[in-house]
Subunit: 150 residues, 2 copies
């Protein structure tokens, strides 16, 4: 029915990731190669612009490592629920759009599936990832509308 | 395989519209309701900002009507090629993103399929329609990558 055999699903590990993964599985052809990617943005990237010299950064490494473990568990549980083997689950570090593009290129992905929120308040920030992914993607992008106002 | 039963395909009537329509048909569930939409942007919208008082505008009405006929023929030929009845082919007038959102809402579309070019030169302009459609869409959006550098 569909030509998509190599699919990258970008998740934010919120409860809405299940909806995104469901849509991706529905679109995937039989025997398709489906990879789930979560991108962990380094904390200093997020905060260093606000408080560049903060002593708090000295503890960031441990915190990030601990967070990384929790995210890995969460991604593992999501993969299990959808019957995906662990080699198809990936936690990457860096800028979300950049890492998603890099992974898609390396894996010759034909489709990127990503959730998108409405453009309101905090959701604007989340929605803008889908937007950044669309820019510069070398393959098709399915933006799955999540949250209210469907 | 897929849950998309109501699909809006936005085309620009370039030769690449066939690729966009092909992808939409591959994703559509059996018996899905597939509408093809072309949005004709009023010429005065496009040019009035540049030469607001030009006498040339007096002839725009005829020109637009003639263009509208040609676009209708082109859309008809595309629909025939894909086995779509004429009631599923629509030429709308206005701002592309706005008209696409309005049509999608009125027809309770579950998926909007639109082509997107790379972000280079003239293609930047075309690519930005996909971007505007993604913003504010109340349903899923499949952006089909067309042109070079796939």
């Amino acid at each position: 029915m569909t030509t998509y055999q190599k699919i990258l699903v970008a998740v934010d590990l919120s409860s809405e990731s299940k909806l995104v993964l469901q849509k991706a599985q529905q679109i995937a052809g039989p025997g398709a190669d489906l990879h789930v990617v979560y991108v962990q943005e380094p904390m200093d990237n997020v905060y260093v612009g606000i408080v560049p010299q903060s002593a708090a950064f000295s503890g960031l490494g441990d915190l990030e490592a601990q967070l990384g473990e929790e995210l890995k568990e969460k991604l593992g549980a999501l993969g299990k629920e959808f019957g995906l083997p662990s080699e198809c689950l990936h936690i990457l570090r860096g800028s979300p759009a950049h890492e998603i593009h890099r992974f898609a290129k390396e894996h010759a992905s034909q489709l990127i599936v990503i959730g998108t929120h409405g453009q309101r308040g905090l959701q604007l920030l989340l929605g803008s990832t889908a937007n950044s992914v669309l820019h510069g993607a070398r393959c098709d992008v399915l933006s799955v509308r999540i949250g209210a106002a469907r």
